[in-house]
Amino acid sequence: MRALFNIFIFPGFLFLFIFGLSAQFFDRRIYARLQNRQGPPWFQPLADFIKLVSKEEIIPEEANPNMFKAMPVIAITAVVTTITYIPMWSPKALFSFNGDLIVVLYLLTIPTLTFFLGGWYSTSLYSKIGAVRALTQLFAYEVPLLMSILAPALLANTWSLTEMAAFYQAHPGYWLFNILGFAIALVTLLGKLEKVPFDIPEAETEIVAGTFTEYSGRLMALFKLSIDMETVVAASLLAAVYLPFWLCCGPVVGFIGYMLKVLFIIATLSLLRTVFARLRIDQMVSFCWKYLAPLAFMQILFNLAVKGFIIR
């Protein structure tokens, strides 16, 4: 009973649904205000969702209907599962074991894979190009992201997010060592969430909507929702790893603190996507390998040095 509650209501599907849509509103509003526009009203994301759900679903004749229909569901499932392993407002996550950090990162990769498969199985040319681009991009940003999240874990000497939170709770101030990793993770997150300047897989002026070109109706709504949820979950992960404070002051303060942290990360992402133009896929890949990966490696070396000389 409790497990069902956790999965469907809190902190699972329903919570992520509401928080994801609010985050989308928050992001769109900030983006619009930075561009000198009015922006949507608060219920716009929900209205968009309802509209999409009520629309007709068209599955291309050439497409494999099972794969085509399964992909959005798998994407959402992966994202909702992830949240149960991330500590949000207390140092304890819902479930935890040593190594859950890797599981979380693995689960967060699944949506990208579903974008690839969904695009590939919809057989449209635009979708296929988008799908290949999504996968190419995955190989570029995933390594720096993994390395930059590895660094704080090294410092805490654990692979468990819950234990990491406890470690940083016990040593307040240590999170400052990971600032560089936080910056790298934020940039790679733009790639994961396919936002400007890394929205290459769905560059609308080149390949229409990329992966999602053939998707419509409920399936499209689910994909959109999974991206919104992924935004929140990934932001929560970053908040848990890099901003581990306000955790032990009770659930109320912790929850407000958690909200503030996530919204801060989302606001930073909005700011970043306002000020850049979209890169080309080759530029994106070389940027990730040339600059982000070495920087992330430096963060790891730095943390090893800190561990060797300061913490002991």
Partner: protein, 408 residues
Amino acid sequence: MNKHKVVIPIGPQHPALKEPESFSVTLSGEKIMAFSARLGYNHRGIEKACEERTYLQDIYLTERICGICSHTHSTAFVQAVEEIAGIVIPQRASYIRTIIGELERIHSHLLWLGVAAHEVGFDTLLMYTWRDREIVMDILAQVTGNRVNYGCNTIGGVRRDIDPSQIKDMLKAIDALEDRTKYYIDIATKETTLIERLSGVGKLSKKDAVTLGAVGPTGRASAVDRDVRRDDPYAAYDKLKFKVVTDDHCDVYGRALVRVGELMESYKILRQALKDMPEGPLTVKAPRKIPAGEATSRYEAPRGECFHYVKSNGTDKPERVKVRAPTLANVQTVAKMLEDGQLADLPIVIAAIDPCFSCTDRITLIKRDGSRSAKRMTWDELHTYSIDWYRKKGLNFAGLNEKLKKRI
């Protein structure tokens, strides 16, 4: 065909294109192997329509060739007609034509800047430029009463005067726009991702530009120093001082620099024109029937040289009107620019010639006959209908078609 290559259609309906036109690219991975443009998707038959109408009606029809450079086409047409009729327009009218033409250039270039930014995924710049474009649109609406089709020209002069209070507002708007344009120049020369996406993309050497007949900013960005305003001055341009902006980057970045540079020149021209504009009448009387003769007229549209040819036969309707819009001259260069290009660069390279397909394809008019139910026809029905229609007129192509079939 090689199985590693894919052909993808860009258009007629595609988010990168603001107007319908059909392109197809052959890709190998992300690399462009071949590119072809197929014009005529939106053929409208305006030239023929012009022959069926009087000169006065044609001014308004040519104005509707393009939604952005409407003043361009009507001025070019009117100039040709005036040349045939031997009319010299009053000084004040020529200044007003110049002023509206430059305002149009400003709004067109600002529009282009936004579209180009959108093509490379820089929506913030799109929102900014289009917001600032409203300043010049408001001024145009204030002066002419319309935002797009100004209806300002008439044979023998202009229809609307510019009064001192409007001049004051215009100068204020120019100051504001100049300020903003400086900011955009700053962005274009400093913002890293924008420069990454624009420089080195869509190379067109000077030699190719000349061979393919590139006009306007597309040519000038490849160091082809041509501008009708200076080389063959019309309206009041011979009395105004301005610089022809050229650039030797030969790529999309250069084209962007030329356009923002031209914006700055336009402000200079406008300030001079508003200051020097002489008092006097707006029109001279023009005859309804234009004497027989022919004339060509050139006009430097925001996109390049716009060419009009008019032939008259002494009646109140022209015998032939021919329009060569700047995009038709420029569209050939796109295939050259895209050689060894990437798919990601395709939208911006097409956008960099500032294509205006409505200019290039033009119009056909469909009138509803009052009844609401329109009849739908299949292609075959339409085909037989056309054959029958000509047969009723005494023309029978059936025999000719048979002959043609046999020969093939």
